[in-house]
Symmetry: C2
Subunit: 198 residues, 2 copies
DNA sequence: ATGCTTGTTGGACGAACGTACAACAAGTGC
DNA sequence: GCACTTGTTGTACGTTCGTCCAACAAGCAT
């Protein structure tokens, strides 16, 4: 009489990612308050003890979740830029506007961001991770701005400004979805690009 | 032999505020993860059971803390605007710039905001509270913009844009204090005002 | 087949959590 | 002074938390 295996032995990376994705779902559903080792293990369909074999604790798992989700966001942004064709301004518009469309502008994504932000102040290595991600986003924007002909000396401030505007619009869009629409957010961001590029 | 009272019977509002301020300090020190009934009661110098007499739970206390801190922020913004004199543009500049100076741009304040944001998605009454606060901030900005001569039809988008830019700059300033300076944030915000009003 | 490595389980443990409640005492009205 | 109200205390209860670890078994090497 053949009995099916009690569990499956997964590739380390595969199990890691399945835990990260379970963490993403728990954060999206229950927020940072519901993100416990037990809840995430149950969501992933594994025993609670397994989480400790892959992550030092909830904080490390949240940091890995942020990195993973952020990489996925970058894929969406890449696709938007590349789908916009060769015109530099069109590529910049696509990059900026993509943040406001589904599935990027959603409360589920915001939950991961908030969980990550809540760790920045107390965990130096997480603060560093945030600094790097933020700097990378800004650098990417500087390149797109350079392609549009913005002089090198003005790129830094312009990139900081656009990043802040996009972050602020995205945040409010997630928190108060009916205060203004994604289309309005896009129009506002494009107007600022017009003003900056002149 | 006279012995001092074991505790003091406080005015209801006074005790409420002392609990709220204790909550503010705990959030600033330990973040949302350390904000427990016991920790806040200890910080306020009262017994744990007393928190339940004033607030239904941690969520209600965090919401009250947010409202209280936000009122204090408005006092600072008021002072900045009134201290700027009669010139409409100077008043607008002061309003926008005040967010980047101490003590408004600080990780301690951010901790309260993050704790509040983490409740917006799951608690409808807290979502409403956020909507109202956000709308009030935006309305205030619209009045200041109107005083600068911005046509009524353009005030809404301008207010949304400025709010988002200020929020984004403030957020990054709190999370990554060395990515750019408060003076740079002010300069960026003023440049956007120039573009909008010019 | 057999043994070895190690991913995985599941429960035990102490700590901390929110909540509830009986006892106490500070302040007030009489 | 005395009784009454109620703000306040302190504790006990059940739950859930993170962590730990001995036992188990899946998959690979031989």
């Amino acid at each position: 009489m053949s009995q099916k295996p009690a569990f499956r032995r997964a590739e380390p990376d595969e199990r890691r990612i399945s835990l990260i994705e379970a963490s993403t779902r728990v954060l999206a559903r229950d927020g940072v308050a519901g993100a416990s080792v037990r809840a995430i293990a149950q969501e992933a369909g594994v025993s609670p003890g397994l989480v400790g074999h892959y992550f030092a604790g909830i904080d490390a798992l949240v940091a890995a979740t942020y990195a993973h989700v952020e990489a996925r966001v970058n894929v969406v942004l890449d696709a938007a830029v590349n789908g916009a064709g060769p015109d530099p301004r069109a590529r910049l518009d696509a990059f900026v506007t993509a943040s406001f469309s589904t599935p990027l502008a959603s409360g589920e994504l915001l939950a991961t961001w908030i969980a990550f932000w809540s760790l920045v102040r107390s965990r130096p290595e997480i603060a560093r991770q945030h600094d790097e991600q933020y700097a990378a986003f800004r650098m990417r924007l500087e390149h797109l701005l350079g392609a549009c002909g913005l002089p090198a000396g003005r790129r830094r401030h312009a990139a900081i400004a656009i990043t802040a505007l996009v972050d602020g619009l995205w945040l409010e869009l997630c928190l108060s979805p009916h205060a203004f629409s994604a289309a309005e957010a896009s129009a506002i961001a494009r107007a600022m690009l017009d003003a900056l590029l002149g």
